[in-house]
């Protein structure tokens, strides 16, 4: 019995030592990076891709049919030639597009078995902006690499102006350029183009859903002298497709260009923040109909302090 107890005590002590060792180890700044190391000299699978004319027309249809939103999908590569593009179920926004893991799995499952391993090109559009990958893109490519069991893959970003950035994602640190050649050998008739257009239109209607901002109730933080409610910030932010989630591109306030809605909001008595002016002394909202307040930039209460000849100033 005593011997058994000793063994248990020894085992407990060993567990404690292991636990302490693990805790100590976690203090060291280790960043798992074996994928980077093992791919330092890996040759890229592609340095050039030829895009078939019909495939390019299809891609342009997707990008233009979605209007001012981004769109994403996969491309099929056969012997160094991109022969087709397709989309998957996704939620589209002005500067962001997301397909859930279920949508990606659905895409894989509906791919014919003999085409598995060919739909490897990861593409998305940047509407009319530059085609440089964003921070969101880089993070996602790293996740996608994991989901592809570490197998390198080509990615492409394209915009309405037909600018293209194409790279081979090997690891976080290695993504060499792929040159793109657009094949225009084929004579595609207008009726063929219309057929491609209609096919894309059907898919966009079926699979792409516009992002809808959650409805929240706005509680005004102050009442201005006119008793007018300030047009809520969140409404403006969400109207421009949630630029909050995105960084680096555009000005979320600058995108507010729906004149009809602005006019309607003003008619209802809403006042936009950027139309308000605040007292330089106490921060209260100024009554701009008062010429003194407008001229001196201070509220009625603070006017006495700043007017010339005032003893308080």
């Amino acid at each position: 019995m005593k011997k058994k107890l000793k063994i248990i005590k020894a085992a407990n002590a060993l567990n404690k030592v292991t636990e302490v060792a693990q805790k100590m180890a976690s203090k060291y700044p280790i960043c798992e990076c074996f994928n980077i190391i093992k791919n330092m000299y890996t040759a890229p699978d592609y340095t050039q891709l030829v895009i078939e004319q019909r495939a390019w027309i299809k891609l342009m249809c997707f990008i233009h049919l979605i209007g001012d939103y981004e769109i994403s999908g996969f491309g099929r590569i056969v012997d160094g030639r991109v022969v087709d593009f397709d989309i998957l179920k996704q939620e589209v926004r002005g500067a962001y597009v997301e397909a859930s893991d279920d949508a990606v799995i659905d895409f894989i499952r509906r791919t014919p078995a003999d085409q598995r391993g060919e739909w490897i090109l990861d593409w998305h559009s940047h509407v009319e902006m530059g085609t440089t990958p964003s921070g969101t893109d880089w993070t996602n490519y790293e996740d996608m690499l994991k989901a592809r069991m570490g197998k390198q893959f080509p990615f492409m970003i394209v915009n309405k102006k037909q600018s293209v950035t194409c790279m081979q994602y090997i690891s976080e640190q290695r993504h060499p350029d792929i040159s793109i050649v657009l094949s225009i050998k084929e004579d595609v008739s207008e009726s063929d183009m219309l057929a491609i257009y209609n096919e894309c239109k059907e898919k966009v209607e079926l699979l792409c859903k516009k992002y809808e901002a959650p409805v929240t109730t706005y509680v005004p933080s102050y009442i201005n002298p006119k008793q007018a409610t300030t047009w809520p910030h969140y409404q403006r932010n969400n109207r421009v497709d949630d630029y909050n989630d995105y960084y680096g591109w555009g000005n979320r306030y600058g995108e507010w260009d729906d004149d009809d809605e602005v006019a309607e909001a003003k008619r209802q008595g809403f006042v936009f923040d950027d139309e308000l002016e605040y007292c330089s002394e106490c921060g209260k909202v100024l009554d701009l109909e008062d010429p003194d307040q407008q001229t001196w930039g201070v509220c009625a209460e603070c006017l006495g302090k700043v007017l010339p000849g005032s003893t308080e100033k």
Binding site: E98, D101, I120, N140, K146, A147, R148, M149, K151
Partner: protein
């Protein structure tokens, strides 16, 4: 008579299951010990944070066990900005 050293040592050879992994990159086969949990399978192949579903499309949890040959579909969300 051949001696079974595994049996003499009190060990039995663990059964294997063929798992076909299907991703966007294609298909690959892996031999996995029967009884391996999906959680262990994920950590062995660096698939933490990915979603795994079986042939029927049912999502598998980390506690689910691989008991026979199966096809697994693996993906992460596709987010672009």
């Amino acid at each position: 008579m051949a001696l079974d050293f595994e049996e003499m040592n009190g060990r039995e050879e663990s059964a294997k299951a063929n798992v076909t992994i299907v991703t966007v990159a294609g298909t690959q086969d892996q031999e996995v010990e029967v009884g391996t949990s999906i959680g262990d399978f994920k950590s062995r192949y660096g698939l933490e944070g990915t979603k795994i579903v079986d042939e029927e499309g049912d999502a598998l949890n980390n506690s689910d066990i691989i008991t026979n040959d199966m096809q697994l579909f693996i993906a992460t969300p596709k987010k672009n900005g």
